[in-house]
């Protein structure tokens, strides 16, 4: 039982890295431009479906499809920002929520129309492979998905820390007017931040498809996980999003061992409520 729990924990950490980067996109946009993007889950689902159809139609490996998905996701982000996001920046949060939920609803039903409501994943040659190391066992595609997630985190860290755009992003996050005064093109920075957030979501979508069953309705699940992770870690905090994601992954995985898997979601949201009450800035917020 102990070993089962340990393996469940490891499995949870692998999943958690994915929830973490989905949450990362959400928190980045919130932190930089104070925008609440309820459509984040669907920016995972769209590329996941795209990757799935590339695999089914032309047997393009999901990891190879990242080559298409990354620019397309980034472009999608730019478009959504340009036509939707930018109009909402000065509106209250409730308007952000309503419009992005509307977007969710649109995309969900569009996908339903195009692809149907079946659950599906890309059954690649490595989908059911495992890595075994002593008592430790992990699923091969989950391991690599999580590795890609951490590479994303690392690159994002480098981007924010060392590039001019990244630095202006942090400046704009700290003080919008101040950033404008010192000559930062705040609008451009926002545009790029939104693009990057959708790009990260797209990567998550492509690496998740070899092992995770998706349907148009899964977008809402991803959204829920992103929220829970972001709230637990602290809204707007990038390390917080990753830690929150990992916690959710582990909690759900262990809940699956001791209770029923369908309680995992309830447990996650229960923790989220507790965190909101007792540490409203998140476990790791200031």
């Amino acid at each position: 039982m102990f070993i089962v729990t340990l393996n469940a924990t490891i499995n949870g950490l692998l999943y958690g890295s994915i929830w973490g980067i989905i949450a990362l996109g959400f928190t980045l946009v919130f932190g930089v431009m104070d925008f609440v993007n309820f459509a984040q889950g669907f920016f995972v689902i769209i590329p996941a479906f795209f990757s799935y159809f590339l695999f089914v139609s032309w047997e393009i490996d999901p990891y190879l499809s990242l080559l298409f998905i990354m620019p397309l996701s980034f472009g999608l982000g730019l478009l959504v920002y340009k036509y939707v996001g930018v109009r909402l920046l000065d509106e209250p949060h409730s308007a952000h929520i309503v419009v992005t939920l509307g977007l969710c609803f649109f995309i969900e039903n569009l996908l339903l129309l195009l692809a149907g409501g079946d659950l599906r994943n890309a059954v690649t040659s490595y989908t059911s492979d495992t890595i075994q190391w002593g008592w430790m066992m992990m699923s091969y595609p989950r391991f690599w998905a999580s590795a890609v997630a951490w590479i994303c985190v690392f690159l994002l860290f480098l981007f924010l820390k060392y590039t001019d755009t990244g630095r202006s992003m942090r400046a704009a996050a700290d003080n919008r007017e101040g950033a404008r005064i010192v000559g930062i093109h705040v609008d451009r920075v926002y545009l790029i931040a939104f693009g990057v957030s959708v790009l990260i979501a797209g990567i998550a979508g492509a690496v998740i498809i070899p092992f995770y069953l998706i349907s148009p309705f899964t977008g809402m699940d991803f959204l829920g996980k992103a929220f829970a992770a972001v709230i637990i870690g602290g809204l707007g905090s990038i390390p917080g999003a990753m830690i929150g994601g990992l916690m959710i992954g582990v909690v759900e995985s262990i809940a699956g061992v001791f209770f029923k898997a369908s309680l995992g979601n309830a447990v996650t949201f229960f923790i989220m409520i507790l965190v909101l009450l007792f540490k409203p800035n998140g476990l790791f917020g200031e």
């Binding site: 109009r87 949060h93 419009v99 929220f227 709230i231 409203p280």
Partner: protein
Amino acid sequence: MSNVSRTRKPYYYLGGAGGILLFLPLVMNDHLLTVAITGLMWAYLCLSWNLVFGFAGQFSLGHALFWGIGAYTSTVLFVNYGLTPWVGIFVGGFLSAIAAWLISLVVLRYRVKGVYFALMTLAFAEVFTGLALNWDYIRGPVGILLPMKNSPGNLFFIARAPYYYFILGLLCLGLGVTYGIQKSKLGYYLKAVREDEEAAEVSGVPSSRYKILAMIISAFLTALGGTFYAQFFLYISPEIMFGFGSQMTMMIGTMVGGAGTLLGPVLGSLVFSFLGELLRSLPLAHSREIVTVERMIWALVLVVVIFYLPGGLVTLGDRVKSRKGRPGTS
């Protein structure tokens, strides 16, 4: 033209519309009547949600919880204990009001606001979905099937018309409550709290008490709608009752019609019912995909209205008037 006749006019229209609504079942066939009943039900639910969002300014995303509590309470009481839903509907309402009271207490005690309030209420609904799915007493994910029979004592009818009058009555109740709140001190207090909570507090408005009150009334009304859903559609499941779908419909109808107004939510919902029916009557429409297309149209209309008509459809008339160059005549 005097000011009086100008302000009275809408009520004539309202009276006329009410009269027409009263006699509709005489001329409608069963299909149209079902459409009308569904439309009125959503109008009623939008009104209930509007009390919290439109009047108290609190963005609840967890009203599915109250809806589900209403439906499950009356249904479980009826199926397991034979209690008539005529009573169960109020038991559900009270349980739901208690849930709303507890949630509000927690939320206000810890000063959860804005986005956090939305996420918190959403999380409560999600927790309940998970619990309902795993609770065998209420038959978990299988859901509960209600018998189809004619038994007015238990609020079951074969004919459509009784359901129609029942939901019309509920809608009148919702309109009455909303109107009452709008015209009472509570309405003005809520408005003050919504516009600027700190200023309201400083002027001596106990904002917490009124927010809780709005939430409780809204939850009670929403739960009555839940019982109606169960009695009319005769099947409930955790996903239908506690899932996010109903919340989405309440939100879209209210926002499109006009949040914080008396007739906006009703108008919004009825427009969507009408649009849906129009879509179904098109010659090309003979597949299940029509529901999907309908929802895509909802989403588009929602986004367009928020961007170009932020006050909702109820402000359309004023917009047109002011375009004609008669601003400020009222």
